[in-house]
């Protein structure tokens, strides 16, 4: 059985991720991230740099390349870290039902 993310057990890692979205993570946070990031079919969420190092949006890449990438340009990010946090929040809600943003 693959580990199931729960708010009760894994809330302790939320602040750790917000403080440092990239880099060496604790084993517990890395497990959460690995499960969140494992591809299970459907759209792949991607980071689109409209200007490198300055302007980012989130995109969704569909399973078939014939279909276009969907760009979520209603929200822009000035750093990768901001976008990573936004995606983490979205996935946290998907796994736990809890809104942390």
């Amino acid at each position: 059985m693959v580990y199931k993310i729960t708010a009760e057990a894994d809330r302790q890692y939320v602040e750790e991720f917000r403080a440092k979205p990239m880099g060496d993570h604790s084993p517990g946070l890395q497990r959460v991230l690995n499960i969140m990031r494992a591809y299970r079919g459907g759209d792949q969420v991607i980071l689109i740099a409209r200007r490198e190092f300055a302007d980012f949006v989130i995109g969704r890449m569909p399973p078939l390349r014939e279909d276009p990438i969907v760009i979520e340009d209603t929200r822009t990010f000035s750093t990768r870290e901001e976008a990573e946090w936004a995606l983490f929040c979205r996935r946290w809600r998907e796994h736990t039902g809890e809104d942390i943003e």
Partner: protein, 761 residues
């Protein structure tokens, strides 16, 4: 989205030569161009920033542009084809691999202008179709049962042109319970209007010089026989020596196992209806009759009669020339680019590109003159291997490997929408088979300055070419005069091209090497050369070139190593050379034999630092640490924040690292995502990550060679990303400069050996 890009006709040229550049312009009618020397292509605001030097040339100014497209998809054509106006049967063995695509061509003699002739194809769902041209237009009939993907079939399609009667007889080589794919159908089309046009396999002309209607899969042993026959006759007509009753009816009998290392197909029939291949389909493919008793196509060619065609194969984009640039006679050897620009870039579009190439010294030694002591071996084999690297598109799950979101820039969005650009040797075709050939005769979006890779470490995220610009910049900063030799030139000219250099610097990731290149480098080292291995995971994969397909390179991902796709069993030998492919390590030539170190770990998020090791205090290494007393080395850098990252190597004497290699420093404190590579373990251990496995480390290494030369290995792709830190005043830069200055000194290194005997003194 990218609005302008292109490619040069070659990756290296001499001063005074003329290069052609092919450009596509996605908007507008003109673009500006200028020749530049590439100094630093990394736009990371934490680093030195973009640096280019304008070189006045005839490229300067405005040029006419237009959109140009790539006509992807491989095929075979037989130009000298008889008109099929009598009853005939087309036999073939077939292995379809993408049955969700409609309108695929297996074999055709079809005139697209008049809609006449024959087209034997495969329709959506795997149904064989026969379309004939009639007086009232095309008429199509279909087999009642589909073929199953990746299963071999015998197929016999008989046609009577006078009556329009069609027989489709499809017989699986291996039947399965509850799989209903055997069919014999007698169908009625209409009287046929034959066409006097070439025969085609796996694709058809569709007008304006384009081919389309491509087939995905293998075709093996196609035969044209007069008269109407069924699959029950196929065994008899496929025999190498035909019985007279068959021989006398034979129109053509193509044997794809002949000339595997060529661009030609051979007809063994009486009319010699030979043909040629377009867009580089994969050869040396095991056929329907492969048993496993032999794995080399050279030793048992009759088992390798299949060609694997793909609708997304590409060899030569064949674009019109947009700019011809004559290189100034006094231009120095080095990295250059044609900077093309069509307007201001903004958040929606990038309107410039740097089309890269190298200026190399004269290949003719008599014209070479006095050269610098230092050469940079431009890893063009690795650039070609990674050309349009699109695993972030073609393979899902990259995010978990990168340990962060997958990055797409404007070039990646363009790549996504233009699969006809062709993949890299890391990608798979749409049918799931691996891309075994990569060509430079097409736009290569990641062989350019400014490209921010989805794969590089956090920060600059440069990889391959753009990562190597960190080294170009440092060499300029330090005033080092150097030549550039490319991998492809080394493959063409061998040892003679490099014999006079005191020092050769590698790129950050010189991973791919042909046999000629490997031998040339080893000869140079063994005769006293001084190698500065400035990266990680070098000399890993064996590749091959072929004169029939200049500009293309082949790889078989055989047996072991980090493999984004895996060659099918029986398909480990290069079609280009007949050599066994895969890891150099599995051929008995581990990277350690060349560089003193070999691949040990990879991880793509953050980099770490080196800690000085006891060998740093060995007097033999004193010159390396002159002015460097630090215990910690490289705890900074543009690639992942440290000098040790991305891919790491270490000293392993069992694999061929010379026993006299000094371990000067080793990296440590890597994350759990820096993982031991799989050729380094048998049973999978639970402690693969750098946070738990001491073998996960980069060894900064040095050792002398018996001829008075030396090896210096940084063992990390991220090393060069640290060179510019603190205004180039840092311990990574200092160590690199100390080594380079000493290596440029022709004074032989002390070997501790008697000159005459080779014994210890």
């Amino acid at each position: 989205m990218l609005k302008i890009t292109g490619y040069p006709d070659r990756y290296s040229a001499e001063a005074g030569e003329t290069l052609d550049f092919m450009v596509t312009l996605e908007e507008g009618e003109t673009f500006d161009a200028r020749l530049v020397r590439v100094v630093h292509g990394d736009c990371n605001p934490e680093g030195p920033g973009l640096k280019f030097t304008h070189i006045p040339s005839n490229a300067d100014g405005s040029h006419a542009g237009k959109p140009q497209r790539i006509d992807a998809g491989s095929y075979a054509v037989v130009d000298r084809a008889p008109v099929l106006d009598e009853p005939f049967t087309f036999f073939t063995m077939l292995w379809p691999t993408l049955v969700r695509r409609d309108d695929q061509t297996i074999f055709a003699q079809w005139d697209h202008e008049t809609d006449t002739g024959y087209h034997i194809g495969l329709g959506e769902g795997g149904f064989v179709s026969v379309t004939v041209g009639t007086e009232t237009g095309p008429k199509t009939v279909r087999a009642p049962k589909p073929m199953v993907e990746r299963q071999w079939y015998g197929l016999a399609v008989s046609i009577d042109p006078a009556t329009g009667a069609v027989g489709i007889d499809q017989k699986p080589v291996r039947p399965y319970a509850h799989v209903d794919d055997r069919c014999t159908a007698t169908l009625q089309a209409a009287p046929v209007s034959p066409a006097h046009v070439p025969f085609h396999f796996a694709g058809c002309p569709v007008g304006q010089g384009r081919y389309d209607r491509h087939f995905d899969g293998k075709i093996d042993s196609p035969i044209l026989m007069a008269g109407r026959w069924t699959a029950a006759d196929q065994d008899a007509v496929m025999r190498k020596v035909l019985a007279p009753e068959w021989r006398n009816r034979l129109i053509a009998k193509w044997d794809f196992s002949i000339g595997i290392d060529t661009a030609d197909i051979t007809d063994t029939g009486p009319y010699m209806l030979h043909g040629r291949l377009g867009n580089l389909p994969t050869r040396a493919m095991k056929g329907w009759n492969w048993t496993g008793e032999e794995h080399s196509w050279k030793l048992k060619p009759e088992h390798y009669g299949a060609i694997h065609f793909h609708h997304d194969d590409v060899y030569d984009a064949g674009w019109d020339v947009s700019v011809s640039v004559t290189l100034p006679e006094d231009i120095k050897s080095g990295p250059y680019a044609l900077h093309v620009r069509s307007g201001e870039s903004d958040v929606d579009a990038t309107r410039e590109d740097y089309i890269s190439f190298f200026v190399v010294p004269p290949r003719d030694k008599a014209r070479r003159g006095k050269r610098p002591k230092v050469a940079f071996l431009a890893p063009t084999c690795s650039y070609i291997a990674y050309a349009n690297h699109a695993e972030h598109i073609t393979a899902r799950g990259v995010e978990i490997l990168m340990n962060r979101m997958v990055h797409f820039g404007h070039s990646d969005l363009y790549m996504y929408e233009h699969p006809e650009l062709g993949g890299s040797l890391y990608d798979t075709h749409a049918d799931g088979s691996g891309v075994a050939y990569s060509s430079r005769l097409r736009p290569v979006l990641n062989f350019t300055a400014q490209y921010h890779s989805w794969l590089g470490g956090h920060g600059s995220a440069v990889y391959q070419y753009n990562a190597d610009t960190h080294l170009f910049d440092w060499l300029e900063e330090k005033g080092i005069d150097y030549d550039v030799i490319t991998d492809e030139d080394l493959n063409a000219h061998g040892y003679e091209l490099i014999e006079d250099y005191e020092v050769i610097l590698t790129g950050t990731h010189p991973e791919y090497h042909s046999t000629v290149m490997w031998d040339a480098m080893k000869d140079w080292i063994d005769r006293g050369g001084r190698l500065m291995y400035m990266g990680g995971n070098g000399w890993y994969w064996r590749v091959a070139f072929n004169d029939a397909w200049p500009g293309a390179m082949e790889l078989r991902r055989a047996e072991d190593g980090i493999r984004p796709w895996v060659s099918e069993p029986g398909e480990y030998f290069h079609s280009f050379s007949g050599e066994y492919g895969g890891l150099w390590r599995r051929i008995g030539r581990a990277p350690n034999v060349i560089a003193g170190v070999g691949f040990i770990a990879q991880g793509f998020d953050m980099s770490s630092y080196y800690r000085r090791a006891p060998d740093a205090d060995n007097p033999r290494a004193a010159f390396i640490f002159e002015g460097v007393d630090d215990e910690i080395i490289g705890d900074f850098g543009l690639v992942g924040g440290g000098a040790a990252g991305i891919e790491l190597d270490c000293i392993t004497t069992d694999l061929g690292s010379p026993p006299n290699m000094l371990r000067l420093a080793s990296s440590e404190d890597h994350s759990a995502m820096m993982l031991l590579v799989n050729e380094e373990f048998g049973p999978v251990p639970p402690n693969l990550g750098g946070d738990q496995n001491e073998r996960v480390r980069a060894d900064l290494a040095f050792g002398e060679t018996p001829a008075g030369g030396a090896l210096f290995a940084t063992s990390s792709i991220a090393w060069c990303g640290a060179l510019s830190h603190n205004g180039y005043d840092n311990n990574v830069s200092r160590i690199t400069e100390n080594v380079l200055r000493r290596f440029m000194d022709p004074e032989p290194f002390d070997t501790g050996l008697s000159a005459n005997t080779g014994n210890s003194q």
